[in-house]
């Protein structure tokens, strides 16, 4: 659009000064390898790519959230320095040599393990998404926030390394016949507790993890130990994990009896609603961005499902009337973010962009209309509706909902 200059004008002096006048980095000696003890950081030109707090969302910073800048990320890995944060009683940098894990409850032999010991056990490394159950919560009723960082940014994906929880339960002689529920408990002030589904433990999917993207978990994400519960909302991925208890009944902890319960139109709350259903969002172009010009664009975004692998993602540029199937970056991992890309030539006219995920169960991401027809607009959690971005004639992209 006229509003913005072209990024690559035809040069007036017979050439782009950025080419004709060699930059100092082509005519000088650069910096040396980083000195011992340094840890590499992003370019100074990337200062805009940061986690952000949504103004007015929470009253404290310790029971709060910072959102990942999805609009600026590539691929499926979330850099750990940009991983979304969600704390219920603040975060800590815990001395790992003093951290302990206890296994108790319906086990033959209650146990205590050090980090040294946990890290000696057979480990696995897997890519999984983590999404807060309250991701996209602000949008249940109406458009409330402008960008994908605020609409969908309680979402990240990492390679996690750890020990399958089932290994530890078996070590302790767990009564897997009568033990039907596991309590996971953190070591932070809230000593966060959640009831963990046994089926995911038995399948070997639930991990007691210490590694994230090749290094240890970050303090904000539970260093030195957290539970990884693939497909399940983030609150179950207990951070600073200190205890695992096997029991025969569910625990109804605060964050599964007062929060992370979904209010239905009839006034009933759904309890133990754990899984994140298939969902997707276009990250570029997305709300709050401006297209620089008419012409070709690569529409790109993320899809994920707590029920397994993403099978297909379709994209519409006309508000859901017509759809084309996007390219998925493979191999597609189960319960991990999946990047999709699709070609698009923007003609300068208004366009409404949508993406629609389908997972390996055949489930298709719903429209707002379909979702609200069952769940109303007050259930806070598990909003997986199709997102609409309106590209306006002036190039600006708006977060919109359709009737």
């Amino acid at each position: 659009p006229a509003a913005l200059a072209q990024g690559n004008p035809v040069p007036t002096e017979g050439g782009d000064p950025n080419i004709l006048n060699l930059p100092e980095h082509s005519t000088g000696l650069g910096q040396g390898v980083n000195p011992e003890g340094s840890y590499g950081m992003p370019s100074k030109y990337e200062a805009h790519v940061k986690r952000r707090i949504s103004p007015g969302l929470t009253q404290t910073t310790q029971a709060s959230v910072s959102f990942a800048p999805l609009q600026s990320l590539f691929g499926i890995v979330t850099p750990s320095g940009l991983h979304f944060e969600r704390h219920h009683q603040g975060w800590w940098d815990i001395d790992p040599s003093k951290h302990r894990l206890m296994i108790n409850g319906m086990v033959k032999r209650p146990m205590v393990l050090t980090m040294d010991e946990i890290m000696r056990l057979p480990s696995v490394s897997r890519f999984h998404f983590i999404e807060c159950g309250a991701n996209t919560a602000a949008e249940w009723g109406n458009v409330a926030v402008p960008t994908v960082q605020y609409t969908h940014g309680m979402l990240s994906c990492s390679e996690f390394t750890g020990v399958p929880l089932i290994t530890l339960l078996e070590m302790a002689g767990a009564d897997l016949k009568n033990g039907k529920f596991v309590l996971a408990e953190g070591a932070d002030g809230s000593s966060m507790t959640r009831t963990i589904p046994m089926s995911l433990i038995l399948s070997g999917e639930v991990l007691v993890a210490y590694g994230q993207n090749g290094e240890m978990l970050r303090p904000e994400n539970g260093y030195p130990l957290r539970l990884v519960v693939p497909g399940v909302q983030g609150v179950s991925w207990v951070k600073y994990l200190r205890r695992i208890e096997l029991g025969d009944k569910p625990y109804a902890t605060k964050d599964e009896a007062v929060h992370y319960i979904d209010l239905m139109p009839d006034g009933l709350h759904r309890q133990y609603s754990n899984l994140q259903e298939a969902k997707s969002v276009i990250t570029t172009p997305s709300g709050g961005q401006v297209l620089l010009d008419k012409g070709f664009y690569n529409i790109t975004g993320l899809a994920w499902s707590g029920f397994g692998k993403i099978k297909r993602v379709d994209v519409s540029v006309d508000g859901g009337r017509n759809w084309r199937t996007a390219r998925l970056e493979g191999p597609v991992h189960s319960k991990a973010l999946t990047r999709f890309n699709i070609d698009w030539v923007w003609d300068g006219k208004p366009a409404i962009l949508q993406s629609r995920a389908m997972d390996e169960t055949g489930f298709v991401q719903p429209t707002y209309k379909q979702l609200r027809a069952v769940r109303g607009t007050r259930s806070i959690y598990h909003n997986n509706a199709i997102q609409s971005w309106l590209v306006q004639e002036n190039g600006e992209v708006k977060n919109v909902q359709l009737s």
């Binding site: 070590m171 507790t193 109804a252 759904r270 009337r321």
Partner: protein, 231 residues
């Protein structure tokens, strides 16, 4: 032979006692003890009211704990106000299980000094909160002996359902099918789209300047929300 020789050891009873503090809906894990509404009020005023308000109704540090409950709710075990789309939702309007409140206060409150309350103090302050919400009388003493009876008066005790698709496994006997059944239609699927909701112009800059929330290069820029939208 051990499967993982050298790894891990048996926990001692003292150790398990130190950490196994959870209290379940059937009150497994609840330590013996008791506390009165009056004692609870004292504790509340010293240790809780600064954040939650004298009547548990403050919205300053966290959403309100108390209020929104009618005597009829206590009878039916369903909080009627939860059907009202305009109503706020307090903790006691939602919670079905008293154990949850006892357990959480014991492990996590006061926020800046979690685990500093003795069991009797927790009984007391829970009694106070029950009283604030009209569930027990002013002169009530809550204890491990009568807590199960009080559970029978929890205003939203019948307000939970597990009939849904979102728990992996059969433990709660949820539903087998999802709530929604969208189909992957590809052509002429929907009528001409109409925008029903968007942010008003005055909120353009409410989340800060979006130009500074996008990379300085790339296929797009962030909107300069310090200025009105370009024509």
């Amino acid at each position: 032979a051990e499967k993982f020789p050298g790894v891990g050891r048996t926990a001692t009873p003292k150790e398990v006692a130190a950490w196994d503090i959870d209290v379940r809906p059937d009150f497994k894990g609840l330590p013996p003890g008791s506390g009165t509404v009056a004692k609870g009020q004292d504790i509340w005023e010293t240790k809780c009211a600064s954040c939650h308000g004298t009547f548990g109704d403050s919205n300053e540090v966290f959403s309100p704990l108390a209020g929104g409950i009618t005597p009829d709710d206590i009878k039916t075990g369903r909080v009627a106000k939860l059907k009202d789309p305009t109503a706020g939702r307090t903790t006691f309007m939602k919670v079905a299980t008293l154990s949850t409140i006892w357990d959480y206060i014991h492990r996590a409150m006061p926020w800046t000094q979690p685990k500093s309350l003795s069991p009797d103090e927790v009984y007391s302050v829970v009694a106070f909160l029950l009283n604030l919400n009209g569930i027990v009388p002013d002169n009530f003493t809550l204890s491990d002996k009568n807590i199960a009876e009080v559970q029978q008066r929890m205003p939203n005790r019948n307000g939970m359902t597990t009939k849904h698709h979102l728990w992996p496994g059969n433990e709660f006997g949820g539903t087998k099918t999802p709530d929604t059944h969208n189909v992957a239609c590809m052509k002429d699927c929907a009528p001409e789209p109409k925008v029903a909701s968007f942010l008003p112009d005055f909120a353009r800059n409410a989340h800060g300047n979006l130009a500074e929330q996008n990379r300085i290069i790339g296929p797009v820029r962030g909107e300069d929300t310090t200025k009105p939208a370009p024509k």
